[in-house]
């Protein structure tokens, strides 16, 4: 199948440091790709180039077969690339619909279009519908985000991305700081997204999670992609060896095909 996202030779330098060094990566609909590596391996820098936070020094990004320049996070979002960061970027003092629609609120006209007010009811209904398709239930949508559990917040963040027609989801440590039961539920959400043909790039330190939901695992070490394995054909042991630099496939894959 045609890749939804393909990056070729992506490189980012900060002064003398090469944070990401000629990385190739392709994501197809219906798959979950794990991106793993030790701290400072370049995972974050790589996804920040895809989500428009950083601009690459070299290399190309193709989205839906077209070459794209992503110079701003809003541009990535317009393309359909949504990134859910660890801190989720939710306003804790607002309720669920307010967060899902934050910055893009539904409005209705009063007094013949003279003034435009928030359409709270429509946003509430749309939020409930959306959360139902994700099979997530909330006791009350009007609760402040502060009062929700970590898993529920994750669901709100994912819903927000989905409502705005995300075609690709990048998730940074989504199960961090969650209880065991909630971790399981977030992983279920990722699988459900995959089944709805929305591919996910999952960044995680938790090997267990990565093996539970991914189809492929990409390992980075010191800015380079050192391995790309089918999840079914590898194991924890091997991945960890790639992560610490004991194994390295990059000399092989670096050759032009």
């Amino acid at each position: 199948m045609e890749p939804l996202l393909e990056v070729k030779g992506l490189t980012k330098r900060f002064g003398g440091l090469t944070a990401v060094n000629r990385v190739d990566l392709a994501i197809r609909p219906g798959e979950v790709v794990g991106l793993v590596g030790d701290n400072g391996a370049g995972k974050s820098t790589l996804i920040k180039m895809i989500s428009g936070v950083y601009q690459p020094n070299e290399g190309e990004i193709y989205f839906e077969g077209r070459k794209v320049d992503i110079t701003h996070p809003s541009q990535a979002r317009d393309l359909g690339i949504e990134t859910i960061y660890q801190d989720l970027a939710l306003a804790g003092n607002l309720d669920v619909p307010a967060n899902i629609f934050l910055g893009r609120e539904m409005k209705r006209s009063l007094l013949g279009g003279l003034i435009r007010v928030l359409d709270q009811q429509a946003m509430h209904d749309a939020s409930r519908e959306l959360l139902e398709t994700l099979d997530v239930q909330f006791p009350s949508l009007t609760a402040r985000i502060d009062n929700l559990s970590g898993g529920q917040r994750q669901a709100v963040a994912i819903s927000r991305a989905l409502y705005w027609r995300a075609k690709l989801l990048i998730m940074d440590e989504p199960t961090n700081n969650l209880g065991v039961v909630e971790q399981r539920k977030v992983l279920d959400l990722i699988l459900r997204l995959r089944d709805q043909n929305i591919p996910v790039i999952l960044i995680s330190h938790t090997m267990h999670d990565v093996f539970a939901v991914t189809n492929r695992i990409v390992v980075m070490h010191r800015g380079r992609k050192v391995a790309e394995k089918r999840t079914a054909e590898t194991d924890h042991q091997e991945i960890v060896q790639y992560m610490v630099g004991a194994l390295d496939d990059s000399r092989v894959t670096e050759e032009p095909a």
Partner: protein, 397 residues
């Protein structure tokens, strides 16, 4: 599959567990205590002081809160968004002085032939074209109010731009602007009251929407002041004086804006989590600038109403009220950490302060006690806010 709310996560555990009766009580109390306190105060003073609940006294209280409430109104928005505006006191004085000078000089210009000699032909023609010479007072007041409020909005613009674009803490920026406004206001007025104001201005500041005549000739008038003189004047009560009408209308409009519009929603979002607001694509800088302009606007209205009420511009009118206006906002339940609060709360907060002042005076208590009481109430308000946060959890924001 349901994501249940029972698992341990990073937010405070207290937020997860079902609430106990005591927690519920504190939560409810933290939301309604200021209303209760206001009612208790009114009941208390009604029994203690004769005539506290009279029409005249209630109207006096409503008039008295005008500057405190208007300064607190814009401040409510600014604080909800996580900022603070310390410049409102002197900016109000500046607006008062500017409006008074403009009104005084414009009336002179339009009515005294000799003054007009120096005027260029263009102005002469413009004045004639809009009929300013036929209604010099009306024209002068419109111009004076516009420029007075305009100068306050400009101070807000400066505040906003420095806070949002140059990332200077609002406490410092608005303190600096406060000093500048103080200097300019004193320079313009020479430290004196700017008098020589038209009679129409005094009427705007003191006449009212309704009139009530007590006693034998009991009567109620709408928009029409009965002709009375001498002792009969004592029986005349003004109901809803114009400054009260102005602050009430502004309170209703801005309460609606905060509650029901995108502008209000974004104000809360910025106060709750600025980073989230940014990532959601909200133009945070521009919004913050608008909030400080709004604060300048309501402060400017307070300034020009002060000019109208006392028929003169006073540079020092606002400064003593700055702390009271912030106290009104805090008593009204606006969190100084940003993210929560309502306009109605600020109305109640301002009323509590004015009721305390008036009530203590009527009880012949040394008036300085009011500061002691207001201070205690402010601290009580913040404690209530924190008690609520312990229960609902402020989490990471």
């Amino acid at each position: 599959m349901a994501l249940d709310a029972t698992t341990e996560v990073r937010a405070p555990a207290a937020a997860r567990r079902p609430r106990t009766f005591e927690q519920r009580s504190i939560l409810v109390l933290s939301q309604v205590w200021s209303w209760l306190f206001l009612i208790v105060l009114i009941v208390f003073f009604s029994f203690k002081g004769t005539g506290f609940l009279s029409v005249r006294n209630s109207q006096n209280i409503l008039v008295a809160i005008t500057p405190i409430f208007l300064m607190g109104l814009g401040q409510t928005f600014v604080i909800i968004a996580g900022g603070i505006d310390l410049s409102v006191g002197w900016v109000m004085g500046l607006a008062s002085v500017v409006s008074a000078i403009v009104i005084r000089d414009t009336v002179k210009l339009l009515t005294i032939e000799a003054e007009r000699q120096g005027l260029s032909r263009v102005f002469e023609q413009v004045f004639t074209a809009i009929g300013a010479a036929s209604y010099p007072d009306v024209f002068a007041i419109i111009l004076g109010f516009t420029l007075g409020i305009g100068v306050a909005c400009f101070a807000g613009l400066i505040n906003g731009v420095i806070v949002a674009k140059l990332r200077v803490p609002p406490f410092i920026v608005t303190l600096g602007v406060s000093f500048v406004a103080r200097g300019v206001a004193l320079l313009l007025s020479g430290g004196n009251i700017v008098g020589e104001q038209p009679r129409l201005l005094r009427d705007i500041g003191n006449e009212s929407l309704f009139y009530l005549v007590r006693g034998e000739q009991k009567a109620f008038y709408i928009l029409h002041k009965p002709e009375l003189s001498g002792n009969a004047l004592r029986l005349l009560d003004r109901i809803l004086p114009w400054p009260v009408v102005v602050w009430m209308v502004l309170a209703i409009i801005l309460a609606f804006v905060l509650r029901s519009t995108q502008f209000g929603r974004h104000t809360y979002a910025i106060g709750g989590n600025k980073e989230a607001a940014l990532r959601a694509g909200i133009a945070v800088d521009r919004h913050i600038i608008r909030l400080y302009i709004l604060s300048g606007f309501t402060t400017g209205v307070a300034g020009v109403l002060n000019t109208a009420r006392y028929s003169g511009g006073s540079s020092i009118a606002g400064d003593p009220l700055l702390m009271s206006s912030i106290a009104a906002v805090v008593i009204g339940g606006v969190s100084l950490f940003g993210g929560s609060g309502r306009v109605s709360g600020t109305v109640v907060g301002a009323l509590i302060i004015a009721v305390l002042q008036t009530g203590l005076v009527m009880m012949a208590v040394e008036p300085f006690w009011q500061f002691v009481v207001v201070g205690i109430v402010v601290i009580l308000a913040v404690l209530m806010d924190q008690a609520r946060d312990l229960i609902v959890g402020r989490a990471e924001t």
